[in-house]
Symmetry: C2
């Protein structure tokens, strides 16, 4: 943690604890970081090296058969909240060779024929990797609930299934970093409007986005239920105010750094005789 | 092409044409780029934006159902020649959401039970993506040949199978950019020695690397045969002198830019009524 810059660490201030109310979160706020955009962007660039270094150590440790951990960043948000920007500007700062990215779209027929966790389990990161879920199994209790894509009983069952699943994932050595990027309804309108105003952004716009937007309050309620039911000690949620993109990126970067520092990966010791190899190489 | 910086374009100077002799390539040279390292590194940073922009257009075009192409960068090299650096510093400059990276290791039992192209075909990039093969089906005629992992007849068969496969891949709309990073034997020794000298690099060292190094001339012969047999109009090889890492990165970046410029992807037109959506959004 960079104590001189963050007054309070995002792991603490943004973490969903008992009694958390999404409705009380100000999407415009920048908790723990009482500085502006230019300072924030400078800090993002500065911390990129540390994140990259930690990722390389994690990867290195996994290559020599140690029992290494992995990290899994789960990203959820309303449309245009900035998931793509997190992937590009935060995850994009580390070596692509150490990242496994999975974007979950509407399930295929094959996926639908299985339990909702089936396709998710298959995309869990290998040890030594940083996995990123762009949307996730939470869609099955978000749009799944709001659009009644499954029965009420089935939706109800899923919260427990998710808790058990994530407990198992955490126990297997995968650190879960669950993030909801939280924008305000007005901010979403402005961002979608910008996509309509700019021909080079039209491809990012989908008329269905407005359909979901009309159900804003239902989605907020569904998120609140997700937080109430699935924010656990092993797999806590973090709600990141995201009206300021620079803040959201900086905060998620810091959450990833924290997760990696928690693992504290070390350069692995050589599993060969270094001096003997030097001689063999010199003679080759 | 940035004509003012490159005197000759790498697509031309580095391309394997009839009569090409690997033995004649100076791994220390910087063909077409008569400037030094600092100029090269500045240029790499400068061109990153263009590569990122082209990648985003390619991706965007593929999202709206156009018949979009893809790009596949095939990387081959002796150990320590800098494949990882290409992935990190060239590919790492574009949005990870548009990249599909496949690292081919020694085949698994399941893979070995299939034809050598089976596992490769499965990792071809989706349309709209930049695929990267870190090693590839060429291992099956490189280490495969040098170590006699298959019969002479089978190795012989593979050159034809590769030509046909790549022709089919190219016809499907995937632009192949095949690159061999070429370092000298002395440079490899220095790089491997550095890995042995630095405890934080030990994990990158494998005693097997020296075993392969002892077969250097056999490998160069196997590469020469690869170039003779599989450099085609649709899927030409490029041999990139790689003793200077900055040059190799810059050249590969330029080859990727060229491939994308050849596709010339355009922002797709909206497949919805923009004005109607503006009204609907405004009212939401």
């Amino acid at each position: 943690m960079t104590k001189h810059v963050w007054h309070e660490h995002p792991s603490d201030t943004l973490r969903v604890e008992e009694g958390f109310r999404l409705a009380d979160v100000d999407a415009d706020s920048t908790p723990g970081f009482p500085h502006g955009k230019s300072h924030g962007e400078k800090e993002l660039a500065k911390r990129r090296e540390l994140l990259g270094d930690l990722q390389e150590r994690l990867y290195a440790a996994s290559r020599v058969g140690d029992d290494t951990d992995a990290v899994l960043l789960v990203l959820q948000a309303m449309d245009s909240a900035g998931k793509g920007g997190i992937v590009r500007h935060v995850v994009g700062g580390v070596d692509p060779q150490g990242v496994e990215l999975a974007a979950f779209k509407a399930p295929t027929d094959e996926e639908r024929a299985h339990d909702f966790l089936w396709r998710v389990e298959k995309r869990l990161p290998q040890r030594g990797f940083i996995g990123v879920f762009d949307r996730s199994h939470y869609e099955d209790v978000l749009i799944g609930r709001v659009r009644a894509l499954a029965s009420a009983d089935e939706i109800e069952r899923r919260y427990g299934a998710i808790r058990e699943f994530e407990q198992k994932v955490a126990a297997s050595g995968i650190r879960l970093v669950k993030v909801m990027l939280h924008i305000s309804r007005d901010e979403q309108k402005a961002r979608l409007m910008e996509r309509l105003d700019r021909p080079d952004k039209h491809w990012k716009y989908n008329p269905g986005d407005v359909d979901e937007r009309m159900l804003w309050d239902d989605y907020m309620q569904a998120y609140q239920t997700v937080f109430d039911r699935t924010s656990t000690t092993d797999a806590p949620w973090h709600v990141v105010p995201a009206n300021h993109k620079w803040y959201a990126r900086l905060a998620v970067q810091e959450l990833l750094i924290s997760a990696l520092e928690g693992i504290d990966p070390q350069w692995p010791a050589a599993d060969f005789d270094v001096e003997a190899e030097k001689k063999r190489l010199a003679a080759s």
